[in-house]
Amino acid sequence: MAIRRQAHEWRNIMPIGETVNLNYHPVLVPNNAHTIFMPAGIPVDIFVGNIGNTLDIPAELKAFQYIVLDAIAVSPPHLAAQIYVNTTRYFQNPDGTVSEGISGKVVPFPNGQDGIINYDYVDGLNPPLYIAPGQTWGVEVTPITDIIGYQGASLTDETIAYCYVKYLLIDGVDSLVAKALINAGWPLTVENIQKYKEIVAKNHIFAGTAELPDSIKNRKRRV
């Protein structure tokens, strides 16, 4: 399983009295859950940000891994998501300054939430973002206006804040293929990786059936 389509989902819902749950989504009990208040303009890292379901360590790629980050989605509409790789932010303003990112009005999660449907980014980011071995990556969400904390009957699927990231994890031998494709200027897609492997396999088949050169065929046996 060297090429895998992965997805990660972050939510700000937690059991009452808790704000963070490491490595897994929290187990929730009816009437004992709440969403965490998030003030406007303060970015929160969805991997190591101490709100909601987070991770022990930031996402860092191993020496034999590539990632193609191809889709991101957020909710509610006034929450924005920004991707970073090492210290560089992906989304910028026209003047070159870093923006808050892409909002839930463009890429709602789940798709259809609050009646908003993702029409513009159906195929994800174009071009997608390649993350190379050894690089650290993550996603920050920034509320454009305050995200209110809810509990009780007002805590519904529509009042939870979400961030969803979809990416292609290229692992092991396929990461060598990925490197070869990047060096050759080919886009890093599933289809291109399969095509490249097909070409390599075909060359090997032909190599096995081809006539050996005379220099090898007629050389003396060495003992």
């Binding site: 991997f47 699927d157 599933v190």
Partner: protein, 252 residues
């Protein structure tokens, strides 16, 4: 029926559940072999003459545990907050960004059934190949605690028809000679799909038909082998009288 587009729909409904034994929250269960829902009788082992391609996976959407509904003390609506993971032999397909085994994909990303405000975001592409003699499993995890809700006295019974959780799997089953073609495609690096298997079958049928030239080729080859064997027997001193009989010499 050598190539079949198969689906499997798993459902956990109220009437199938004993209140004292509901799936524990945060724990993983198989949709095939656990005692919950419409399970099958044995794990999904791909037999030696089969090849499976898993194309789609989806489950019930919904997160908030407070969106339950009661009719008196009977539970008539429940939100499972569920995730599904695909396991091949002992390897989980989904990992979190720090490379650890995760619960998988949620019903919010890949909902089943899909509605106008719950449209899928997640596509299982590339699909997953399950080879001969491998087992595959779909495991669900519920993060809303039904067991504790019952223990807390939230409800006393569950309505018979209440759907508590659902999983949908779409896969292609290649059987018999088509499984051989699928394996051949895999070995030469071509993606396995219904189209590519049919394409390979077509090429083989076009190229390997038995015509006169093919028959002549095989006849000549058999004669040459026979002569070679005779020569070897003579060299090894194991020849019989027939091997020296000029009438029986095939090399006429």
């Amino acid at each position: 029926m050598a190539i079949r587009g198969e689906i499997y729909e798993w459902e956990l409904v109220g009437k199938e559940l004993t209140l004292a034994d509901t799936p524990a929250a945060g724990q993983e269960y198989s949709i095939f072999t656990s005692n919950y829902g419409s399970a099958v009788v044995q794990p999904s082992l791909v037999s030696e003459d089969s090849f499976v391609v898993i194309n789609k996976i989806a489950c019930t959407p919904g997160v908030s545990p407070n969106q339950y509904e009661l009719d008196g003390t009977e539970l008539i609506k429940w939100i499972p907050n569920m995730f599904v993971q695909i396991v091949i032999n002992t390897t989980g397909y989904y990992r979190d960004p720090q490379n650890l085994y995760s619960a998988g994909i949620s019903g919010m990303a890949s909902p089943y059934p899909q509605t106008v405000n719950r449209i899928k975001y997640y596509e299982l592409w590339p699909p997953i190949y399950v080879l001969s003699d491998q087992t595959w499993d779909i495991r669900f995890t519920l993060f809303n605690d039904l067991r504790k809700a019952y223990a807390n006295g939230l409800f006393a019974t569950i309505g018979d028809d209440v759907v508590l959780a659902q999983v949908f799997v779409d896969y292609t089953l290649f059987d018999g000679t088509d499984a051989m073609l699928a394996r051949k495609l895999l070995s030469i690096g071509v993606p396995v799909s219904v189209d590519t298997v049919q394409w390979l079958r077509q090429i083989i049928l076009q190229n390997r038909g038995l015509d006169t030239e093919t028959f002549d080729f095989y006849l000549k080859a058999i004669r040459e082998i026979s002569i070679k064997q005779k020569e070897n027997r003579i060299k090894q001193g194991m020849a019989t009288k027939n091997d020296y009989d000029p009438k029986d010499n095939l090399n006429l």
